[in-house]
């Protein structure tokens, strides 16, 4: 009997799994090259999705005096820790309206994780290292993925229905379109992203530079 129940559950689970759709998002810039570090997220039109922040905090590491990763997507309520793996101290801060915080100069693990409790884009910087920059995209939907170097992102386990698909990149505005997901469907959305010029400070050793960039 127990075995039968298990098989039934498995079948039901399988059936349920087959019922979820997948949307693959492929980003391209106008020249046709893939765009990495773009966050694609689908917000259901109709009833909002249930968001459950993960139990363990997400880590944004400081290594070689850079934030890793460059872009991190989380749901509202996620805790983010900032372990410092460098031998120098860092002073992490953000003045973004979605989360204003600072962690004064520290080394090793940050004392506490920061809870990102508002939807929005949070820009992170280091007070004493001007070139260090990272982004935290705080979302109200669990259906999201970040594009890799190939420009592709797979958003899985989507219940059937209609969604608003948004694609965001630090150097672009948000591209929005409407997407319909059917049971067990696997669709691909090709999104064209127009990037602004990259204005991040170069760390190249040009001592004679004009300074402020």
């Amino acid at each position: 009997m127990k075995l039968l129940l298990a098989i039934a559950l498995l079948a039901a689970g399988a059936a349920a799994a087959d019922a979820a759709g997948t949307v693959t998002v492929v980003t391209r810039d106008p020249a046709g090259k893939p765009v990495a570090d773009a966050v694609a997220y689908l917000t259901p039109l109709g009833a909002p999705a249930r968001v459950e922040p993960p139990a363990e905090p997400v880590a944004i590491v400081q290594r070689d005096q850079e934030f890793m990763p460059y872009v991190t997507a989380v749901v509202v309520g996620t805790r983010v820790a900032f372990p410092n793996e460098d031998t120098v101290r860092h002073h992490v801060y953000s003045v973004s309206p979605a989360k204003r915080f600072e962690i004064p100069l520290y080394i090793g693990d940050s004392k506490e994780a920061i809870v990102f409790d508002k939807e929005g884009i949070v820009t992170l910087g280091c007070n004493i290292h001007d070139w260090m920059v990272a982004y935290v995209v705080v979302l109200a939907t669990p259906y999201f993925a970040k594009t890799g170097a190939d420009g592709g992102a797979e958003v899985r386990l989507l219940p059937a229905g209609r969604y608003r698909l948004d694609v965001w990149h630090p150097r672009a505005g948000t591209v929005t379109r409407e997407v319909a997901v059917a049971d067990a469907s696997d669709t691909t959305q090709i999104i064209s992203v127009i990037l602004r010029p990259d204005r991040r400070i170069r760390r190249a050793p040009d001592a004679g530079g004009p300074g402020y960039k």
């Binding site: 801060y93 953000s94 204003r100 600072e102 820009t123 001007d130 260090m132 920059v133 004009p210």
Partner: protein, 583 residues
């Protein structure tokens, strides 16, 4: 001199004319030179000043930009200041705190005013003071412009406050506050005053007078200047962008007005000026030198011209005087002008003329006869014939028989006329047969054949001439008859002998003639033609016939005594040319 429309002074003397010409040309050249140099100096000075003014305008722009760059660097440092970040970390940005911080910062970097605007342009704080109200609007405009541009920064000129007489010129700049780059969270706004200190530094570096102009509506007027106020008061009421020359009191100022585009209402410009007189100062020396040169060369010309004129007019006067000498008949005096130029050539020509005239005189004197130019030329060539020569010639005498009787009833004038007509005919015949008329003696003619020009067939010529004369006399008589006059008759005697030929007479009056016994014989033969028994008009001697080569119709008349000669002379009558008629 031709009359001219202008009343030019008239100069009679060549020297005066030359003086005026040379001095005039020198003066003209020097004055033209001076004028051209003067004009060129002025033009070059103006061009140089214009180039300097353009550089000055560039220098001004560079200085403003350099200062703003410097300020932007300092602002960048400040914007990374932890304290600024702290202000942004607060939930509500405290404007009062921001403003007081900006007051600190503006003193640190030496500005009269600073402000902080958020990314969307709302005011986060400012350092206060009179500029606060007026400055925010232009700063917002600059922020909008900077947000669009590649390098997020913008600057521009402004007059603050825009209205009213207290407005001053500022250079405004906005630089972003990053948190971190490339995220712009705010804009730092700075106002740099463009004041007298700026103008003074520019004047010291570029040696130019600097004036800032402003106009709220149409025309612009000076607001700040390096010129002293009394000079400034002389500036024209309106100055427009571009280049010009402006007169301020005693000096001319080359001016360049460059517009300064404002981000506040109104028009502004910077006027750069330099005194033309100051620029021309070094060339004054050259101009003074040229003036002295002009006067000196005029003086030299005034001295050289009369000397040169005298050099010309003296020999000319000598030439003029010499014509008087020639006119008086003195062909022997020569001009002593020894020059290689045209005057010398003219003097040589004069002397040759004198020589020619003297020669002609000599020829006349020598021959005293109507000889043809060729004969005269030949005679001139072999002068020896005139000096005295023994030669065998033929002498012909022809004498009118009854002329006195025939001419008695006639008036003296007509007598002479007839005689001269007769002489004319006969002399022509003599010349045709290459002889010359030696002399006219009353109504007789003495002709020579063979002297002074040598004649190989002188005997034939003489005989033929005589025969021809006879025919001519017949024709002449026919003419006389139609006029109702009497007939003329003559006798001709010809002898051939050696005589002495040459110029005979005194030095004042020379005659070419011959002397010798043979001459008397010819005269005697002519005399014998009166003897009716001979029935001959032409009597020739045996010597003549012997010398003659032609054949003639002759009658031997035997020997006749000749006065002054011991032996009688054989004489022949010539009746005509050709073979003798059959007896």
């Amino acid at each position: 001199m031709r009359a001219t429309p202008f009343r030019l002074p008239r100069f009679k003397r060549f020297g005066s004319r030359l003086l005026v010409l040379i001095a005039g040309l020198v003066a003209l050249a020097q004055v033209a030179n001076y004028a051209l140099v003067f004009r060129a100096n002025r033009r070059n000075a103006i061009e140089r000043i214009r180039a300097n003014l353009d550089k000055g305008a560039l220098l001004f722009t560079h200085r403003v930009n350099a200062r703003l760059e410097d300020l932007s660097s300092r602002a960048a440092l400040m914007s990374g200041d932890y304290a600024i970040r702290q202000l942004f970390l607060a939930e509500q940005i405290d404007a009062a705190t921001v403003s007081s911080a900006l007051e600190t910062y503006r003193v640190r970097i030496g500005l009269p005013f600073m402000a902080l605007l958020s990314a969307d342009g709302s005011r986060l704080g400012d350092s206060g003071g009179g500029l606060a109200a007026a400055a925010l609007a232009p700063f917002r405009g600059l922020v909008a412009r900077a947000a669009e541009s590649e390098e997020p920064q913008a600057r521009g000129y402004a007059r603050l406050p825009p209205d009213g007489p207290d407005g001053r010129l500022y250079a405004l700049q906005v630089v972003p506050v990053y948190a971190p780059k490339p995220e712009i969270v705010a804009w730092i706004c700075m106002a740099l005053p463009i004041d007298n200190r700026f103008a003074g530094e520019l004047k010291a570096d570029a040696q130019l007078e600097v004036t800032f102009l402003y106009g709220s509506a149409g025309e612009m007027r000076p607001v700040e200047s390096t010129l002293p106020s009394e000079r400034l008061a002389l500036e024209p009421a309106r100055l427009e962008p571009g280049g010009s020359t402006v007169r301020l009191g005693a000096e001319s100022f080359v001016t360049s007005v460059q517009p300064l585009p404002l981000v506040t209402p109104g028009r502004a410009a910077i006027a750069l000026q330099r005194s033309l007189e100051a620029e021309l100062e070094p060339s004054r020396l050259l101009e003074r030198f040229l003036l002295i040169l002009l006067l000196v060369s005029l003086g030299v010309a005034a001295m050289v011209a009369p000397w040169f004129a005298r050099n010309l007019s003296r020999p000319l006067r000598a030439l003029a005087d010499h014509t008087g000498v020639i006119a008086r008949g003195d062909y022997d005096t020569r001009l002593a002008i020894d020059r290689a130029d045209e005057i010398g050539q003219l003097a040589a020509s004069f002397n040759r003329m004198s020589e020619g005239l003297a020669e002609r005189d000599r020829v006349r004197d020598l021959l005293d006869k109507n000889v043809s130019p060729e004969v005269a030329a030949q005679l001139m060539r072999d002068g020896g014939a005139l000096g005295g020569e023994e030669r065998e010639i033929s002498v012909l005498f022809v004498d009118l028989r009854n002329f006195t009787r025939m001419s008695e009833p006639l008036a003296p004038k007509e007598v002479l006329a007839i005689l001269n007509r007769y002489f004319d005919r006969m002399s022509t015949i003599v010349e045709v047969y290459h002889g010359i008329v030696d002399k006219y003696m009353g109504d007789a003619i003495m002709a020579l054949f063979g002297a002074p020009v040598a004649l190989p067939n002188h005997a034939d010529c003489a005989i033929l001439a005589a025969i021809e004369m006879k025919s001519a006399l017949e024709r002449f008589n026919a003419e006389l008859a139609t006029d109702g006059r009497g007939r003329l008759a003559f006798g001709i005697g010809i002898n051939t002998a050696k005589v002495i030929a040459g110029n005979i007479g005194s030095s004042r009056r020379l005659n070419f003639s011959v002397i010798g016994d043979g001459v008397n014989v010819a005269a005697r033969l002519q005399d014998l033609t009166r003897m009716s028994q001979y029935r001959a008009d032409i009597l020739v001697s045996a010597a003549t016939l012997a010398a003659a080569r032609g054949r003639y119709s002759v009658r031997p008349l035997g020997a006749a005594p000749v006065r002054g000669r011991d032996e009688p002379v054989e004489i022949f009558a010539v009746d005509g040319a050709g073979a003798p008629a059959a007896p």
